[in-house]
Structure formats: structure tokens, C-alpha cells
């Protein structure tokens, strides 16, 4: 479904990704792990068309999507949840969902149902300004917003970063709920979560793929994952 083929990415003269390749099958969850500065976010930003690789290509459903702008990728079913947890703070939660529904052409009621399906408590906050939500609630809203329309591939950047343990469990529950329904590339440093959810793990170090774990027994072994970092 998604194929990243030997991409090199640089910020100015500083090369950040070196010949990175990965494959993702339909309905699977691929986790990208690595230390800070390994190039994980850069990888997602490149897939999302925010950065253009110096070399290599990105394919989605067999078509070359290298460098296509985010708005076009959205209509192909690719959703990007950034790590900054930035919602439209001056809009209500309902309007945050409405804006996604308006883009995808999905009726608002259906869009709301999708969000409430993954997080029923959001019903109490629909008329609240999204800026008033906690970090965890914002993250859930962003994931919910990404579910509106007809998403096929979810790109999620550090969904649990800076969140309390109880909220991390909630995010993990939501990601588990989504597993099998769509494909996802998730950047995550929380290894227990990775071991719970991943179908494949790609370890990045200094912009290079150092290890790919496919085997369930390997993925479940957090100490092995730790070594992969």
C-alpha cells in the first residue's frame, strides 16, 4: 500500500535521511522508533509532501506521490496527525470536526458519530472551545478528525508524547480499535505501546534504517526493541 523507496532528505545542506526504505501493507500498523533527531518526524513530513526528497520515491497504492502537496494527499485518503497536538483552539470541538467533514464531503452527523465512536466522552465537550481541552483530549480530537471522510493511511507523530499514563492507555485503546480498519505509520518512543500494537517496527538511527522487525515474538520483546534504538 505504502512504499518508501530509498529516499534521501535534507534541510538545506544537512542531510537528515539516508536511503530510507519501508513497506506497509493494507490494514497494518508500522511503528517507527528511534532516538531524538533520528529523522522520524522528517520521514512523516516527507511522506506528507511537506519535504521533497533529494532522491528516491514514495508510492501509495502503486502511484507515485512523491512531493504531492498535503491537500492532494488528504483526498487520496492520507491523514497526518502532528506531534504538536495543535487543534484549532478558537473553534469549538464540533467546528473542528465540521471543518474536516466539510473537506471530505461527509455529513457532519456521520463525522461526529465517528469521533464519538472512538471517544464517547467527547460528547460533553462538543460546544467547548478546543483550546480548552487537555493535551490528551486534543490528541484524541486530532485522531478523531483524521477519521472523518474515508481515511486509508494514518500518519501519527508521537501520539503519547508528554501525556499522563492514564491518557496513554486511552490513546493505546483507540489505536487498537483502529487496527485492521486502516493502515498506519506511527512514530513512537513508548516501547511497551509499540510492542502491543505494531505489525512491523522500523528503527531509525541518524537518518538510516538500522533494523526492521516483522516477527511478532521480536516485536513483543521490549528489550530487543530497546536494543534496536
Amino acid at each position: 500500500m505504502l512504499q518508501v523507496a530509498g529516499i534521501d532528505v535534507a534541510y538545506g545542506h544537512a542531510k537528515v535521511l539516508h536511503d530510507v526504505s519501508l513497506d506497509l501493507e493494507e490494514g497494518k500498523m508500522l511503528f517507527v522508533v528511534g532516538r531524538n533527531g533520528a529523522g522520524k518526524t522528517t520521514l512523516l513530513r516527507t511522506i506528507m509532501g511537506l519535504l521533497r526528497p533529494l532522491k528516491g520515491s514514495i508510492y501509495f497504492d502503486g502511484g507515485d506521490i512523491t512531493g504531492l502537496p498535503p491537500e492532494q494527499l488528504y483526498h487520496r485518503g492520507i491523514r497526518y496527525v502532528t506531534q504538536d497536538k495543535k487543534v484549532f483552539g478558537s473553534l469549538t470541538v464540533r467546528e473542528n470536526i465540521e471543518i474536516a467533514a466539510y473537506s471530505s464531503g461527509e455529513p457532519l452527523s456521520q463525522a461526529l458519530d465517528k469521533v464519538l465512536e472512538i471517544y464517547p466522552k467527547m460528547k460533553d465537550f462538543l460546544n467547548l472551545k478546543a483550546g480548552q481541552l487537555s493535551g490528551g483530549q486534543r490528541q484524541i480530537l486530532l485522531i478523531g478528525q483524521a477519521m472523518v471522510g474515508n481515511p486509508r493511511l494514518l500518519l501519527v507523530d508521537e501520539p503519547t508524547q508528554g501525556l499522563a499514563a492514564i491518557v496513554i492507555n486511552e490513546i493505546a485503546r483507540i489505536l487498537k480499535h483502529l487496527k485492521g480498519r486502516l493502515s498506519a505509520v506511527v512514530v513512537e518512543q513508548n516501547l511497551p505501546l509499540v510492542s502491543q500494537l505494531a505489525d512491523r517496527v522500523v528503527a531509525l538511527k541518524e537518518g538510516k534504517v538500522t533494523q526492521v522487525l516483522d516477527d511478532a515474538s521480536e516485536i513483543c520483546n521490549t528489550s530487543l526493541l530497546e536494543k534496536a534504538l
Partner: protein
């Protein structure tokens, strides 16, 4: 190319559906009530100011409303908005001099000309943001002023301006101040209604999202350049309507209608009333006109008060007068709610 045309067609269709939905949704009664209230406010102004000046106030409000769409809702500050007012005004003047004797047709031509000018300038300026956007628009405004003053002065009258002779046609008589007042008031209410519907539709939510974080809006599948352009053109078109009415209200057009310095007045009125709120734009327009029309009678250096008011807005009341009233109302409502819940508990 074909895909782009198709995508834009879909965008326009979606906008049309969203606006239509707003028009037909419940709350029509409320909208009518709002229009009546605005009309009453202007009717109250007439005995104090006279019909001509009240008409001037209403036209200024139309121009501030158009600017609020661009600045208050979409977050794009322009120092060149008067260009479209000038285009509307000069088109009416020229049309009534050379093309037609029908002022209504001249208004339509003024609106179309402003729309076309907005389409051309917007195609260039919406690509940039921040100070560059404001200054690029100011530059275009300056170019417009230069064209009127110099290369086109034989037809625009240059510094002397252009007087309009054909102000009446059939039952339409712009020589009559009462007729002008009612016509302009109806125009203001129409513009307000359209913008009210537009800004409370999903499209309005989109504009506010662009204002807050344009990059994230792109992640949600929007070609933001196109939406910004559409909004820019709409704001220019409404401003052109204001300009056309200005020309007919005075029976005269001069380069002051597109004087770049006067843009500050529109920005000020918008901030004073409260940007991003249509009622704020209306209130700001009226108060600004009251300040600039009445204070000079009593104070020689009346601009001092404008400066103080602007400082207060910037440092203390960022939401303007309307924003302040909204905050006051929410505070009172919250206090009443907590008071009633405490009362319930004590029982």
C-alpha cells in the same frame, strides 16, 4: 489542468450548498430580527445626523464589513482595501458619464469592476502573508491612485475628480437624500445578511481555521490559496459596492476614495468594534464615523482621542467593543449560573 478546474468547481458547489443550507436552516426569524434592529439603529441616527450623513455612515459600515471578512475572519491585514472602493466609485462615475443613464446598471458595473480588480490583485497577493501581504496590497492601492491621478486623468478628472450628472432614472432618484438613505440602508442590510450567512456556514469556520493555522488546514485537504483568493475577491466585491454607493451619495468621485492613508480608518474601525465579528464591524463603523464627524467640532486635536482608543484596544481590549460586551455577557451568565446552582445546593 482539468483536475484543477474540476476541483474548483467542486469547491464552489460545496460553498453554494453550505451557504444555501444556512439560508434555509432554522433561525431565519432571528436573522430578520437582527436586520430590523440594525435598521432601527440607523433610523435613530437620522434625526441627529441628517439623512445624507446617516447614509455616509451606512456606506462606511459596508466597507468595514467587507474588510472584516478579510482581516477579522481570514486574518489577512490589508492596507490597500480602498483600491476596490475606488474602483467601484470610479466605474460608477465613468459609466454614468459615458455608458448609461441608469444608476442601477452603473452600480452593477462598479461591483463587477471591483470583483475583477480583486480577482487580478488577489491572484498575486494571497500567495503571501503577514506584513508582505499588507504592504503588497498597499502598493496596488498606490498604483490605482497613481493611475487615476496621472495616466488616466483625462477620463478620471485627475485631482479635480469626476462629477456625476445622471443620478436619476425612472423611479430611481439618487438626487433625493431620503431615497439614497433607504437604498443604502437596504444595501447594508443585504450585505450584512449575506455575510452573516456566509460566515456562519462551514465556509466561515474554514476562514477562521485559516486565520488560526493555515498549514493545518492544508492537512485537512484544503487548497488554502484558492479559498483565500475567493474570500479576497468577495471582500473586494463588497468594498466595490460600497464605493459605488459612495459615488452616488456624493454625485462626485475624487481620488480621496482610494487614498491609501484612509485605509487606516477602516482598520481602526474594525479593531474598535471588534474584528472577526460582523456586529463589531457595524459598531466600529458607526463609532468611528461619530468620532471623526463630531469630535473635530469640539476639539482641534481630536486625533489624540483616536490614538488613545487604539492603544486601549491593543493593550486592554483585544476583542474591541463588541468583544468586550461578549466577555461581559459571558461573565454575567456564568455568575448567574453558579449563583443559581449554589442556591439549589443550599436548598
Amino acid at each position: 489542468m482539468g483536475n484543477v478546474v474540476k476541483e474548483r468547481g467542486l469547491v464552489l458547489e460545496k460553498t453554494f450548498v453550505a451557504v444555501g443550507k444556512q439560508l434555509t436552516q432554522a433561525g431565519v426569524g432571528q436573522k430578520v430580527l437582527e436586520l430590523i434592529l440594525i435598521g432601527v439603529v440607523f433610523l435613530i441616527l437620522v434625526p441627529f445626523l441628517g439623512a445624507h450623513r446617516a447614509t455616509d455612515f451606512a456606506i462606511f459600515c459596508i466597507i468595514v464589513l467587507s474588510f472584516d471578512l478579510l482581516y477579522g475572519y481570514m486574518g489577512r491585514l490589508s492596507f490597500g482595501h480602498l483600491l476596490y472602493v475606488g474602483v467601484g466609485a470610479y466605474t460608477v462615475g465613468l459609466a454614468l458619464r459615458y455608458l448609461t443613464t441608469n444608476p442601477l446598471l452603473a452600480i452593477v458595473l462598479g461591483i463587477v469592476a471591483a470583483c475583477l480588480a480583486g480577482m487580478a490583485v488577489g491572484a498575486i497577493t494571497v500567495r503571501i502573508a503577514g506584513a508582505a501581504f499588507a504592504l503588497a496590497n498597499l502598493a496596488f492601492n498606490r498604483v490605482g491612485w497613481f493611475l487615476v491621478m496621472s495616466p488616466l486623468k483625462d477620463i478620471t478628472g485627475g485631482e479635480n475628480g469626476l462629477s456625476i450628472r445622471n443620478l436619476s432614472f425612472w423611479y430611481v432618484n439618487f438626487r433625493n437624500p431620503t431615497f439614497r438613505f433607504w437604498f443604502v440602508l437596504a444595501s447594508l442590510l443585504l450585505v450584512f445578511l449575506l455575510l452573516r450567512v456566509f460566515t456562519s456556514s462551514s465556509y466561515g469556520v474554514l476562514l477562521r481555521s485559516i486565520k488560526e493555522d493555515e498549514k493545518r488546514v492544508r492537512f485537512l485537504g484544503y487548497n488554502t490559496q484558492f479559498y483565500k483568493w475567493v474570500t479576497f475577491v468577495l471582500a473586494a466585491t463588497v468594498a466595490g459596492f460600497g464605493g459605488a454607493l459612495t459615488a452616488l451619495n456624493y454625485g462626485y468621485v475624487n481620488p480621496n476614495t482610494l487614498d491609501v492613508h484612509a485605509n487606516a480608518g477602516i482598520v481602526f474601525a474594525c479593531l474598535l468594534g471588534g474584528s472577526g465579528r460582523l456586529y463589531g464591524a457595524l459598531l466600529g463603523g458607526i463609532i468611528y464615523m461619530l468620532i471623526t464627524n463630531l469630535l473635530p467640532v469640539y476639539f482641534q486635536r481630536w486625533e489624540f482621542f483616536l490614538g488613545v482608543a487604539l492603544l486601549l484596544i491593543v493593550f486592554r481590549f483585544r476583542g474591541g467593543i463588541w468583544g468586550g460586551l461578549e466577555a461581559l455577557y459571558s461573565g454575567l451568565a456564568a455568575r448567574a449560573k453558579s449563583g443559581s446552582s449554589k442556591e439549589g445546593m443550599s436548598r
